[in-house]
Structures are given as structure tokens and as C-alpha cells.
Amino acid sequence: MSVTLSLEVNGKPVSLEVAPRTLLVDLLRDSLRLTGTHIGCDTAQCGACTVHLDGRAVKSCNVLAVQTAGAKVTTIEGIGSDAALHPMQAAFRDHHGLQCGYCTPGMVMSALDLVARHPAPSRDEIREALDGNICRCTGYHNIVTAIEAGAKAMKA
């Protein structure tokens, strides 16, 4: 039993048939082929699936696609391109804020939510904002440095 779902993804209107039990992350990855959003734990713990729902970071593995009807969803694909990285993405590259890269899309989306509300976050505020994002590689130090630099670059 499927329903028609209309929403905006990365600035473009999308309308499709979905089963109500479809998770937002599966809609994005399987139906829309936006595979930049990752599934790490599938239990709302790791933050790899973080996207923006009406401008706020949420875990897309813990949201039903139908909950986003009429809303604006932004994924990592919606913030920059291979040719022109978003300043926050560029900061992660420049400051070695990733190793395997699995957590990175979620880290970047969480960072952007933080910077939207705190344009110049302290290192402590950055660490607190990353409470819901787990990285198994970096030890977080360079992620914090990257977000600090990314926030500065976004103001420039």
C-alpha cells in the first residue's frame, strides 16, 4: 500500500510513490540514488546518515520518508559539487578531517547546522555539536580543526 510523497530534495521538487514504512535514508539512497548519505548503524547512534530537514540536522535512518512530505531536505550532494566544494568540505580536505570518509557526510551536515546557528563556534561547542556523530578513524581532533576553519571560511 503506497502513498504519493512530494517534497523538495536539494532544491528540486520530487514526487514519487513510497510505502509508508520507507525510511528517509532509503528514499534518498535507493530511490533517488543520492548515496552520499551513509548508513552506519541503522539505529540512530552514529550520525553517518545526517541530512537537513527544513534546515535542521536529523538522522535520516530514524525518520520516515512520509514525515518529510512538503518539507525541504538537503543532503551532502546539495551543498557543493566535485568542481566547487562547499567551504566546509574544502576545510575537511585541507585539515585532514577524514580518513576512510564514511562518517564525513554526516559530520559536514552536522557542522553546517551548528555554523548556521553559531557562526563562530568554539572548539568545545564543536565537540558538543558532534555528540551524535561517531568517527572510528580520526580521533576527532582534525574534524574539530576542520569545522573551526570551515566556519571561518564560510564568513569570508
Binding site: M1, P20, D42, G47, T50, G132
Partner: protein, 266 residues
Amino acid sequence: MYEFAYHRATSLENAASLLASADDGRVLAGGQTLVAAMKLRLAAPSDLVDLRGIPELSGVCRDGDTMIIGAMTTHSAVNASDDLKATIPALAELAGGIGDAMVRNQGTIGGSVANNDPAADYPAALLALGATIRTERRTIAADDFFTGMYETALEPGEMIVSIGFPIPKRAAYVKFPNPASRYALVGVFVADGPAGVRVAVTGAGSGVFRATAFESALSGRFAPEALDGLTVDASELSGDMHASAEYRAHLVGVMARRAVGKSTGA
């Protein structure tokens, strides 16, 4: 997750009739608990009635000496509310310590209170501040609302509309978070308000409860030292892989003293 039918309610009346006509209907708020439970097949409702499309359920407002928070107000919105920071800062701060940023952006006060997780933060605030839960049918005092582990006084199909918090003279919440889940291993909310001094404890037992011996001591003298030598009975607390009952009992005293100190600025 099992199949279910999804409905987006347009008004409270519409939500009530959708719930009434469903086999086993459940209200959907942020889904931070319910969607997770459905994925694990711990919950399998026939119908979900989403309250997200009812704008009057969200927001914070003041009515005389009471702050009223709509059921669908997210933890982030409570945390960011200037009106709450000015009247009950302890409540705004509590909301900012729930889970993580993404959970706070999606989870709601109504969902948390209806769920009554024994380690949730809000129930301690409701009990200590002497809050009133308003549903589409009646109002319920916090003292009568939390009836047991994941149990509340809500009847089938009954919806929380808003929660009213009398503004206290002073209040503070201190929790010892479980380092993995960030739920309260033990959390203590202390309030000195219109109903006198009230101390509510979450995380320690099968549900939120008042530490009445602490309340009497603090009514005599509202200072951390008033609690010296006082403990709660460990035999009534929970022990698990995260903390023994004795350790939880100890933490209740420590968190309570810190909360009193914090609310007096000491």
C-alpha cells in the same frame, strides 16, 4: 518494520477521529522513539497519525505565572526559547542535554512525556515543577501522570496537547549521563516553587519519583549541606551493567547536592 497506514492529521479533531477509527492506531510525533521501536518490531501499530501538520501544537507561551509548551515543540526549540531562558532556565538547559543535536531537532516534549522512559529527562522536570499535562479531554497533574515504567495516565487514543509549568523561584537539573546513550544514569531536578521544594529523580528506578526526605530537609534550609547524610534506599533502585543500585543511590545524593548548589548559584 511491518506495514502500516500513515495519516497526517490536519487538526486535533481530525487526529482524534483517525485514531478512533484505526485498529491499533498510534500518534507519531518526532518518531525518535517510535520509529526506532517499529524498526526493531517492538511496536507494530496498524496506523500512524502524524501530528506534525497541526501548527498550534508547537511553541512556547506564557499564561500568567505559567509557561505553556505545546506537545510538538522540539527539544531544540525548548532549548532555544528566550522566554524559557528568562523564566525557567533549568528547563531550557535540560532540553539542550537530551541525546544529541539531531535527536533534539526531531524529538518532542509530548513524545518524551508520553513515552515515560525510566531514564528520560523531561519527566523529572514535570514532577519537580508540579507541571500540568493538558490533553484533548482533560488536564492531569504530573503527580498523577507517571504511573510506572513506560506507563502513564493517558487513555488509549488520548493526546497530549500542551504542558504547563508554574514558574519557580529557583530550579536546576543535573544529570549523570550514560556515556553511550546520554540518557540519565541518574538525573535530579530540584525546584523551589509555588508548591514548595520538590526533588524529582529519573534514571535511578523503574520510573521517575520524588525524594521526599530530601524535600523536607531542603524546606528547612535550601542549601546543599542540608542533604548531608541523607540517602535514598538502594533496594528500590535499578542495577544493571551500567551501574549498580548502590552506585545509583549514591549518585542521587551527589546530583541532588549539585542541583541545589546550581539553583542557588553556589
